[in-house]
Structures are given as structure tokens and as C-alpha cells.
């Protein structure tokens, strides 16, 4: 960088830079107009219309948005035009003598060209961002109708900077192609091809390799690989991230992650260096030929062939039956057409066509050979790699648990998962992760296709990322049935790292602002949250105190999240989109209890459910395929269960149901999920429950758990 700046400021290069900017003022005018039509136009329209009638506002905004998007597309396309037209002496023979004979050395000429092109392309964009963000910030802080509240200026700026980085990446990549080629038409065509083919090729190569590695987290890897390697990849990665995080509202751009941004800086920094060295070693006489370096042409052609072959090969691998031969034929035809079109377009000649055919066959079968080796050896044996505990410096575990993070209760719905994310150097946790990983490799590798396909269809994701002491990183993402790893997961649940994660999750949930902020928080007794007399609403000004107290209590007490028998009440929360959750208050949460007492809620704590049981209840039996409708039975119950449910109805229930809900009085339903198909056991549980307990209390709950016939929880 220093060298670049000193080179630029030296008179000769600066003269050249200035001359180039001046001589390409048409480009500068075009980019300036396009950039004005993007952010400034859009945000001026926004500023002028946001306070108007909704219909007028949306009509103006949609028109302005269309113009802005179109202008942005044209601007982006200039990222291909500018680098391929500002160095005509590399692409037109008539310009070679002039370009190379002027009194500059190659370094001065390169940086003069490079930076003047970048200046022409980027400066109008930067100015439009500055104007756009100022306009938006002004509008945002004057928006009394709060229509812009979902998009803060900082988040918007992150996307504007992402667009700027995309345009810089496009310029850098196109400039590389420009110095490789000796003809401006070929330069433009291959710049477009390379921009498209890089993300596709990398995605397919990664796909081919990582789908061969059972458990490898290929979606994440592919997203990161394509995002860091090409402008189109960054566009795709940013959109995917927006879609994936849409539940949290519009979050800061994907680019603003170090593991995305740093690779981009490193890769594209290397591209600039490579471009410079290619330029420096390029000869004037190479101008005019399609490619200044024939090997690069062959490499690009091979990359295209490899992309087609690996795409078809990976699809064929996943396809069963008679389609394989037709897929092979499609692959041969597609790759041959692509090859002929590119070869004829580049060479503009049919002579020595037989040599081209040999080259084509060599490239296709070479690609086949590489793909076959990848497939045969399970992605070069990566499937079976499990690190030793001693090799791991830290582990990051992310999984979708069926245990509620805040309450620790088991959730019954297959679609209801909670994202757990812990990062720790705790050796016990590392050992648990390695054990889970080893068990997965041993029991569910490719050799056990049936088990694997069972796992594929259900249960939760389990992602392990090891940071090795050697500096390496291993990432695996399996689909697991959580309870198969109960022993190892209990270690994780008992760890300090999990406790901290839980404490932070609770703290963040309560103190969150914006889209998913807590709308209502109240303290409730153990006996039913529908009963308004058993709860106390907490004002918003106290949320942070409660969050802090809970965080302190959870971390200090180093509790086992599943240990539920100490609870004396709940903190119940809902957010604006209606999502709700509750946090058990344990008897040893001194800080939390103290705040609740100060708020006047001490009477709600330590209340037994049995205190309020009265009257009749209902039984609801839910079908396997429906999570919320009563299918089998719905009737009042009396004290004697045997009189209400006869053997036949329970038998029917056993076959078709996935859970029972029993409501007694205003106590919230106790969920019973049968996991034992023996009819007599099922009946026994019901009968025992109702014979011996006319009300629910903690001991019965524990008994049922211990009996291991049912999974139980309170359901709200």
C-alpha cells in the first residue's frame, strides 16, 4: 500500500493518472449519472414522500426503487467496461506503440491505469453513498410515523458498503482478465464468464468434495467460499444471509463478519498483486491475440468444463435409476457445446479443429478423473477425520436443541427448535464434542446408508467447529437425534460455557430492542398463567434490572439447566410478534427474588399448583400428523378415569396419537407423550395418575419422568 501511494504521488505516475482520468471523462460522467440515480435519487424521493399518504408514498418509492436498481445494474456493468477500455494498448495493436513507448516504466503505467480506472468507477459511488446516508439519516430521525424504524442508518450503511465492496471486487477481477487477454472483445466476454463461473465452479467443486464428506458443513462452507471469491458470490451470500436472518429483522450485512471480510481482502489483495505481476511480464507483442497467456485460456476452459462435469456428476450421484445415462449424455452435449462456442469464439478459426476435439476430451475426462477420486475417497478421506482432544484448542458447538434454552423443558413439536451456540476451551466439553463426533463417524458414516437417511429426515442439526492448536479448523454439521447423545450433551449442559450462553440468551432476550423486543413481561406463580390473579405485570423500566439479576444468578449458581425441582415461579415474556417464553425462577436466585420482592411480587412465589386444583378437566388426544387438533377424544373427565376412557379408545389413541394433554381446572395442561407402545403401560400411567393424584404436583411430575414412559412438561 505504501509503495502504491508513493508510486502514485511521484510526478510521472500522477501525471499519467491525471491524464487517464481526463481522457476517460466519458466513463466518469456515466458512472456519476448512474450513481446519482441510485442512492441520492431514491433517498430524496423518500425524504419528500415519507410523510405523505401511504398510496402516494408507495407509488413514488416503487418508481424510485426501480430506477435505482436499474441504475445500479448499469453502474455495476461499468465495472466490466472500464477496466477493459482504459488500457487500449493491451487490446488494440494500433494502440500498442503509443501505450508502451510513453516515458513510463511498467509499474508507473500499471498503477496509473489501475487507480485512474478505479477512481473513475468508485469515487462517484462513494459520493452517492455519503449523500444517500445523510439523506436517510435525516429522514430516519424525523420519521414520526416510524415507517423506517425497521432499518437503522447503520444497517443501511452496511449494505451500501457491501455494494461498494462488490463493485471494487468486480473491478479487480475484470482488470485481472483484462491483463490476461489481448483483445477487448475477448476481455469483456471472459470477464463476464469469469465473474459467473467462479462462484458456480467453487460452489460445485465444494459441493462435490463436501457432499462426499458425511457431516461436512458444506452449505456454510459453500456460502463462505463463493462469498469471498467473487462479486456475484458476495451478492448471493448477502441475500442468503438476509433471508436466513429475516426473523430478526434486517441485520447488518453479511460482509461485516471477519470470516467473510478478511478472506475477501486477502483474496482480492492477492488478485491485485497477481494482476500487477502478469502485467509486468506481459509483452507488447501479445496485444491482439485473444489471450496474452495461452495457459490462462486453457485454465479457464478447463474450469468451465470441470464446472459442467462436476455439476452433472454430483447430480448423477444423487440420482437413482435410469436417469444416470441420460444425465451423462446431457453432460457431454452441454460441455461440448460450451467448449466449441468458446473455442471458436476465441480462436475465430476452424483449422486444427481435431486438436480442439482432443483438448476437449482431455479436459472432460480429466475432470471426470478428479471428481471420481473425490467421490471414491469420501472427499479425500475427510469423512473419517476426528481430532484428538489434545489437538483441539477450542470448540464451537451450534445445534438446534429440543430443550428450551430458557426453561430447559423438552419441546414436543418437531418444528420447534432452539439454537444453542457455545464456544469454549473447557476440556470436558471438547471431549464431549469429540465423543459425539466419533460416535457419528462410527455409526452413521457412508457405510451405514440406512441410518444416515433416517437421520437426514428428522431431528436437529449439530455443528461442531474445532479450532486446532496447529491453527487448523475442522467443521462438521450432522443431523442427530439429540437423545442418542444424552450422556455427552448432559456434560455440555452442565458446563460453565452453556450456563453463560443461557444467561446471555436470557439477558439479550429481555433487553432486546427494536423488532423482537419484549412487549410484555410478568411474574407468575407456578399455577397457571391464564389466571390473571396469579401474575404481576412488570414495567419496561425494570426489564434491564431483572435481566441483570437473572444473568448474575444463573452464572453464579452454575446450575444444571435441566434441574427443575427448585423452581418457585416464572418470569413470562412475550414479544410484539406474539412469541412467548418463560424462565423458571429458582429458589436460589437471590438477586432475582430480591427484585421481585421489591416490585411487590413475593406472594406469587412458592405457590403450589395443588393449591388451586378444583373442578373437572379435559383430555385432548392429538394425532401424529397434526400438532394442534383434537382427533380422538374430547370430553369431561371425572375423578375416575376408567369410566371415561375405555380400553378401545386408548388403544386407538396409542396407535394414532403423539401426545395427550390433560387439563385439570385452570392448571395448564400436562403433556404426556407416549413412547411405549404397550397398552397396559399406557393405561397404567393414566390410571395411576388420576387414581393417586387429583391434582398435579412436583413429585408426580418427577415420578412420571423417572418411569420413563412419558416425556412430560407444562405446556403453554
Amino acid at each position: 500500500m505504501n509503495s502504491m501511494i508513493s508510486t502514485l504521488t511521484k510526478g510521472r505516475t500522477f501525471n499519467y493518472f491525471r491524464y487517464k482520468c481526463k481522457s476517460h471523462k466519458t466513463h466518469l460522467i456515466t458512472t456519476s449519472i448512474m450513481c446519482t440515480l441510485t442512492y441520492p435519487l431514491f433517498f430524496i424521493v423518500l425524504a419528500l414522500t415519507y410523510s405523505m399518504d401511504e398510496n402516494i408514498f408507495s407509488s413514488f418509492i416503487s418508481s424510485a426503487l426501480s430506477i435505482s436498481i436499474l441504475a445500479m445494474c448499469v453502474y455495476m456493468f461499468m465495472g466490466i467496461i472500464i477496466p477493459t477500455t482504459t488500457t487500449p494498448y493491451l487490446h488494440q495493436r494500433t494502440m500498442t506503440d503509443l501505450g508502451f513507448s510513453i516515458p513510463l516504466n511498467s509499474k508507473q503505467r500499471f498503477w496509473g491505469d489501475y487507480l485512474s480506472g478505479l477512481f473513475i468507477y468508485i469515487i462517484p459511488h462513494i459520493i452517492s453513498i455519503v449523500i444517500g446516508i445523510l439523506l436517510y439519516t435525516f429522514t430516519y430521525y424525523n420519521d414520526t410515523k416510524e415507517i423506517l424504524s425497521e432499518l437503522s442508518p447503520s444497517v443501511l450503511l452496511s449494505y451500501m458498503i457491501t455494494a461498494l465492496v462488490i463493485s471494487i471486487m468486480l473491478y479487480i477481477l475484470t482488470h485481472l482478465i483484462s491483463v490476461f487477454t489481448g483483445n477487448s472483445g475477448i476481455a469483456k466476454i471472459y470477464a463476464i464468464i469469469i465473474n459467473i463461473i467462479i462462484p458456480i465452479a467453487l460452489a460445485l467443486i465444494s459441493w462435490a468434495i463436501f457432499t462426499s464428506v458425511y457431516g461436512a458443513d458444506y452449505e456454510d462452507i459453500i456460502q463462505k467460499v463463493i462469498t469471498s471469491s467473487s462479486p456475484i458470490g458476495l451478492i448471493v451470500g448477502t441475500i442468503l444471509n438476509m433471508v436466513n436472518s429475516s426473523s430478526e429483522g434486517l441485520v447488518v450485512s453479511y460482509l461485516f463478519n471477519w470470516d467473510v471480510f478478511l478472506p475477501i481482502v486477502l483474496i482480492f489483495g492477492c488478485v491485485v498483486v497477481v494482476t500487477y505481476y502478469v502485467y509486468k511480464n506481459r509483452k507488447a507483442e501479445q496485444t491482439g491475440s485473444p489471450f496474452a497467456f495461452k495457459s490462462i485460456y486453457n485454465f479457464i476452459l478447463f474450469l468451465i468444463m470441470f464446472t459442467i462435469v462436476s455439476g452433472f456428476a454430483t447430480i448423477t450421484r444423487e440420482t437413482e435409476g435410469d436417469y444416470q445415462s441420460s444425465l451423462f449424455m446431457s453432460m457431454m452435449v452441454t460441455s461440448f457445446i460450451a467448449f466449441v462456442v468458446l473455442d471458436v469464439m476465441t480462436r475465430r478459426d476452424f483449422t486444427k479443429f481435431w486438436q480442439s476435439i482432443i483438448k476437449y476430451l482431455g479436459m472432460v475426462f480429466g475432470s471426470f478423473a478428479i471428481i471420481s477420486v473425490i467421490f471414491m475417497f469420501d472427499g479425500f478421506g475427510m469423512t473419517y477425520i476426528v481430532p484428538e482432544v489434545s489437538q483441539v484448542s477450542s470448540v464451537n458447538i451450534e445445534y438446534s436443541s429440543r430443550y428450551k434454552i430458557m426453561s430447559g423443558y423438552y419441546r414436543y413439536s418437531s418444528s420447534d427448535f432452539n439454537d444453542v451456540k457455545i464456544n469454549t476451551k473447557d476440556e470436558e466439553v471438547i471431549k464431549s464434542a469429540v465423543d459425539i463426533h466419533q460416535k457419528l463417524v462410527d455409526e452413521y458414516s457412508y457405510s451405514n446408508e440406512e441410518e444416515r437417511s433416517n437421520l437426514k429426515n428428522s431431528y436437529s442439526n449439530f455443528k461442531i467447529t474445532y479450532k486446532l492448536k496447529s491453527g487448523g479448523v475442522i467443521t462438521r454439521n450432522y443431523t442427530v437425534y439429540e437423545d442418542s447423545f444424552k450422556e455427552q450433551l448432559d456434560t455440555i449442559y452442565s458446563s460453565k460455557a452453556y450456563n453463560e450462553f443461557k444467561a446471555n440468551t436470557i439477558y439479550n432476550t429481555i433487553t432486546k430492542t427494536g423488532y423482537s423486543a419484549v412487549k410484555e413481561l410478568y411474574i407468575t406463580s407456578l399455577i397457571g398463567m391464564e389466571n390473571y390473579s396469579s401474575r404481576m405485570v412488570v414495567s419496561k423500566s425494570n426489564y434491564r434490572d431483572i435481566a441483570n439479576a437473572l444473568k448474575l444468578d444463573i452464572i453464579e449458581n452454575d446450575e444444571n439447566p435441566n434441574l427443575d425441582n427448585e423452581k418457585i415461579g416464572y418470569i413470562f415474556i412475550t414479544n410484539s410478534s406474539g412469541l412467548s417464553d418463560y424462565i423458571p425462577i429458582k429458589s436460589y436466585y437471590a438477586n432475582t427474588i430480591s427484585i421481585i420482592e421489591n416490585l411487590g411480587g413475593s406472594n406469587l412465589l412458592n405457590k403450589k399448583i395443588s393449591d388451586s386444583i378444583s373442578g373437572k378437566g379435559t383430555i385432548e388426544i392429538y394425532d401424529n400428523n397434526s400438532s394442534s387438533s383434537v382427533i380422538v377424544d374430547f370430553r369431561d373427565i371425572s375423578n375416575d378415569l376408567g369410566k371415561i376412557i375405555d380400553n378401545s379408545s386408548v388403544y386407538y389413541s396409542k396407535v394414532n396419537s403423539n401426545r395427550f394433554e390433560i387439563r385439570v381446572g385452570d392448571v395448564y395442561p400436562l403433556i404426556l407423550i407416549p413412547n411405549n407402545e404397550d397398552e397396559s403401560d399406557l393405561l397404567k400411567i393414566f390410571q395411576e395418575y388420576y387414581k393417586d393424584n387429583q391434582y398435579y404436583d412436583e413429585e408426580v411430575y418427577e415420578d412420571i419422568i423417572d418411569d420413563d414412559y412419558y416425556k412430560t412438561e407444562y405446556y403453554y
Partner: protein, 300 residues
Amino acid sequence: MIELKSVTKKFNEAIALDNINLNIETGKAYGLLGSNGAGKSTILRLLSGVYQCEKGDVLIDGEKVYDNPLIKERVVFVNDETVQFNTYTLDELKDFYKAFYPTFSEERFEKLWGILRLPRNRRLSTYSKGMKRQAVLICSIACQPKYLLLDEAFDGIDPTMRIVVKKMLVDAMLDNELTVIISSHNLGEIDEFCDTVGLLHKGKIIFNRELDSVKGNIHKIQTAFDRNYEKADFDDFEVMHYEKKGSVIYLIAKGDTDDITEKLSRKNPKILDIIPLSLEEIFIYEMEVLGYEFNDININ
């Protein structure tokens, strides 16, 4: 001083210049002659730093030219194309040269422009070929380089303006000790303008001499004898071309005039005329010796 020391330049496998050595002294007007593809333009491109040689050294004032802006500042190369300047006006063209050549003289430019009176604000694409050449030439001279390399630079300029332009060049040579190297197929022009010439053929230098010395060394002889002499009868001096029409023998011979006259006189010629050759004729006969075929050309 320009020096090419054992220079070899290849284009892929084709050898454009094959181990050539050439010295051109400062202040000279040097003419590069040669058949198509002989390597004349390649030499100019090596001297202007456009090409880099594979072997040997291309030196100007003792320093390598390639990638050396300090030396390139002393050299202006005007090639045989004009389309590269089509989008420029004359003033923009002047600004272009001015941006890169610190010795550019605005005063000289105005003086030269005052002579040619080319339109200043029209794009060069609207100029005729000859006008474009004049525009480039006045800008090049205004750069006040030490070395001016001209590749077919007078092509398209009308005879009157050629005289004017040549005058400008001669003035520049006198004022600035300018060295001009001209590559042209118009040998009359080189004959008029250059004091030293070099002949290239298939990447090799055939000769590199003062023009007078070249001219003084090759002669056209018309002679007739009362005997029937064949070509072999004249092997006592170097005969480049022999032709007999009736009793008259036409010889192109190399060597000292007196020596050739004396040797022919011994054969008692009835007629003996020694006629000076034009540079064009010298070129043709030299090339014929080198195997360049002219079967369909009638030299008389």
C-alpha cells in the same frame, strides 16, 4: 548514441532479429532499409522501449531502454498508424505529449503549427491521413527529443508538405542535435534525407554505412565488346547483376570505380559507361543478391 549489441528478438518461434549489432551516432539521420518483415519496425520498437529483446542489449546513451522512463523521455516514436489519435483534437494531442515529455516546448509547437496551420479543435478523425501525420510530427518535434524514430512517417503527406516537414526535421536536427531514424519503403526519401543507411534482411544487418559510401561502391555499367563475353568473364570484380541485350551488356558491380574501369578496359570495350545508381536500385540489387526474387521486374 544508439547501440544494439548482439540483439535477438523472437515472436514465439519466429526470429525477427538475429543477433544484430548496430551503432548509430548522435545527430545523424539514419535510414533503415529492408524488405517486408526484415525487422525494421522491430528495431524501432526496441529503441522506443515497446519491445524487450530476448538476448543482447538495446542501449541509448549507454543505458538500457526497456522500462527506463528517463531514457524513454529522450525518444519519440511515430509509428505508421494514425488511428490511435482519432478521438483527439490537435490541442489534446499536444496535451498528451506535453504530459509525458518534460522537454515539450509550447513555443516550438506554436511555431510549427504556424507553418502548417492545421485545424486545432477538430478531431483528428476528420483529418486526412497526411494531416494526421503532420499533426503527430509537429507534436513529436515539439517534444524536443534527442531521438526521433519515424516508421513510414511521411506516408500520405503531399510532396509540398513533405518538403516543409523535412525542413522542420532538419531544423530540429541542427538546433537540438536530434538523431532521426527513418524506416521507409520510399527509398527516394531516405536518399534525400539520410546520411547513413542500414539494410536489413531476415533479421540480419546486411550493411550499415554512410549513404555516399554505399552509393560510391555500387555501379551500373553499360558496355559492349567485339567479342562475346559471358558473366564468368567478369569474375575479376564483384558482379551483382548481369544482363545481355543484343551486343550490350548491363552489369551491376560492386567496388571501386577506377578499379572496375581499369579491369573492363583491358577487354577493349567498344562502349563503357558507368552510371550512378539510385538508392532504390541499390536496394533492389542488394536484395536480389540475397535471394529476393524479382523475376517479373524489368530493370530497364
